[in-house]
């Protein structure tokens, strides 16, 4: 419990990443709630600007179904039988990718949270409010905050201080806007913004560290010295888990295998390894963004289940002697994956060779060891030994088996005179929620209260105060 204004009040800790949002109370060792940073909505037709009426009619026509076909817990569901067929106007199978033809002006009701966005709804668009570590869509971000505070933590924002994490390259404008959001809309009594890389470094017990964060959207290397981010050393590229998943998808396509997410599957029966799936599909037209998200979930599971990193430089001959791993897609297609399962994460280390059909942007990707090396090299020469000695790994994309060993090996084979020490928490919670955890401990310290931006300070100085107090 932290202290604020003399009372024992737990602060709220919120970390909004590109893929996952983590929310909880300061002082706890795991977030109370982790849910996808994605919002879903159905675009309203231009003329249907009738407020609540439009919403209601939308809801009654719609069947909310979770991905396995069971009826959702939403209040407006109609029931399993209806959901399985019934009212939906028949449309050709595979029409899932037909874009909405209606001209739209505004978005209807938002859907947030794992259960809500994975319900199939015709015309539901899915989007993450974050891009490249920056807030891109403020409406959607507010939905995420609403969901975190009101639906998940079920707390009264006016009673708790709030600490949020931000990317090291966040802009002044965005920080000011976040401060305004916290004070004006939610009326938090106090607020603080912490750099996620600094929090991760602190949580690993290091005021000096080179924080390597590889997530769904991107991979970044941020040097932290004495608790400050060294801005010129920040290196990042949008090579993350999503690119890897996309590559798996392409590979499947190339061998004529369709990745069919769960929501489209009505019935399947077992097939022999490598044979076409024997499956009955549901008639569920969806938007491309929804279909993509559901496909990504399947591929995410594929990566977690079978992929692995070679411990030293990739060598096709050696790797082909390693045991294969079977995997079954939701539609029943199954196969034993051998070298393929090593080639996927290999993209992180050698994108030039392993990234197939790169876009012009992707052609400039460099391997992770090189990215780390470049980052340290652009810092002052006196800092480099310390930075190389304190490389901290975080982010879900670093959880491939063998990832840390391989990175250590690669960093030692680049010629330099520094001793490399890699810190990779074995505990997956620590690896996935490193920055949240740092914020949680930080805000729980009794002595931290003097650092909060208080309501009074905000009222006196305006949102610009965030740039002075949270450096």
């Amino acid at each position: 419990m932290g202290t604020y204004g003399g009372d024992e009040v737990a602060a709220l800790v919120l970390s909004v990443g590109h893929t996952w949002t983590q929310a909880g109370y300061a002082g706890e060792d795991t977030p109370k709630s982790i849910f996808p940073t994605s919002v879903g909505w159905v675009d309203l037709p231009a003329e249907a600007d009738q407020g609540d009426d439009a919403d209601n009619s939308e809801d009654t026509q719609m069947q909310d179904v979770t991905q396995d076909g069971a009826s959702a817990s939403d209040s407006n569901h109609i029931g399993k039988k209806d959901a399985d067929g019934g009212d939906v106007a028949p449309q050709p199978v595979g029409a899932g990718l037909v874009p909405s033809k209606k001209k739209v002006t505004k978005r209807g009701k938002y859907y947030v949270g794992d259960g809500e966005i994975s319900c199939w709804r015709p015309d539901m668009e899915i989007k993450s409010p974050m891009k490249d570590g920056l807030v891109e869509d403020w409406d959607a971000l507010e939905q995420i905050w609403d969901h975190a505070f009101l639906k998940r933590l079920r707390c009264d924002p006016t009673e708790h201080p709030l600490i949020i994490t931000e990317s090291a390259w966040n802009t002044r404008e965005i920080r000011e806007k976040l401060t305004e959001l916290a004070f004006e809309k939610y009326n938090f009594p106090a607020f603080f913004v912490a750099k996620d890389a600094v929090m991760t470094a602190f949580a690993a017990g290091r005021p000096h560290a080179l924080v390597v964060d590889s997530g769904g959207d991107m991979t970044s290397v941020v040097p932290v010295y004495d608790g400050y981010v060294l801005r010129k050393g920040i290196m990042r590229q949008s090579l993350g888990g999503d690119v890897l998943s996309d590559q798996v998808l392409q590979q499947f396509k190339a061998s004529d295998v369709e990745v069919t997410p769960q929501y489209l599957i009505a019935k399947k029966s077992p097939v022999v390894v490598g044979q076409k799936p024997n499956v009955v599909l549901r008639d569920r037209p969806a938007t491309p963004s929804f279909h993509k998200m559901m496909q990504m979930r399947v591929l995410h599971d594929f990566k977690e289940s079978v992929c692995q990193v070679a411990e030293s430089t990739y060598n096709e001959q050696n790797i082909s002697t390693r045991p294969q791993k079977p995997y079954e897609l939701p539609d029943g297609y199954n196969f034993n994956f051998g070298t393929e399962r090593f080639k996927v994460p290999e993209i992180m280390f050698n994108p030039k060779e392993f990234l197939k059909n790169p876009t012009p942007e992707q052609e400039n990707f460099v391997g992770l060891p090189k990215l780390i090396f470049n980052s340290a090299q652009s810092c002052d020469i006196d800092f480099r030994p310390t930075l190389f000695g304190n490389v901290v790994l975080t982010g879900g994309n670093t959880l491939f088996p063998g990832f840390a060993d391989r990175l250590h090996w690669e960093l030692n084979s680049i010629p330099h005179s520094y001793k490399v020490k890699l810190h990779a928490p074995g505990n997956t919670v620590e690896r996935k929620c490193g920055s949240w955890l740092g914020g949680s401990i930080m805000a729980s310290l009794g002595t931290f209260h003097q650092l909060w931006i208080s309501r009074k300070e905000y009222d006196e100085s305006g949102s610009n105060i965030v740039n002075k107090k949270c450096v």
Binding site: R206, P207, G227, T386, E430, I441, T447, Q450
Partner: protein, 137 residues
């Protein structure tokens, strides 16, 4: 910067002055008090044996330390340098690690005359040779 706001007690600085000027103390060990509000002195010693100093650094908890190194330059001259240690072993729990990392500045900034700083996460990094190597540079 994001700091915890834990403050060093005056005794921390006084003991350090004694080490710096009095030339009798060899090392001082600091920790965060049990109520997590301030930084206090755990031990001050005149024992010159470096191994005994290392024994003061627990395997699973964090500490700070100041050590007055005496060493010889390649041409035979005697030198003294005061070294600051941040001890944060990987086995320590995450809370003390966080606490010590974010509070270091509070102590470090109040001590003047430190020649080098060592961030230690295992006994290798604080071994005598590693430290001497660092000092001689």
């Amino acid at each position: 910067m994001a700091t915890s706001g834990v403050k060093a007690l005056p005794i921390c600085v006084d003991t350090f002055q004694e080490l710096k000027l009095g030339k009798t103390l060899k090392y001082i060990i600091y920790k965060i008090s049990d109520d997590l509000k301030s930084i206090e002195v755990v031990k001050q010693s005149e024992d010159a044996d470096y191994d005994n100093f290392l024994k003061e650094l627990p395997e699973d908890d964090c500490r700070w330390a100041v050590y007055d190194f005496a060493y010889k330059t390649p041409d035979g001259g005697d030198r003294n340098k005061i070294i600051f240690f941040s001890w944060s072993p990987d086995n320590a729990k995450i809370k003390p690690k966080m606490l010590y990392a974010s509070s270091k500045d509070g102590l470090r900034k109040s001590l003047n005359g430190i020649a080098a700083e060592i961030q230690g996460t295992d006994y290798d990094e604080v071994a005598l040779e590693t430290v001497l190597d660092r000092i001689r540079r």
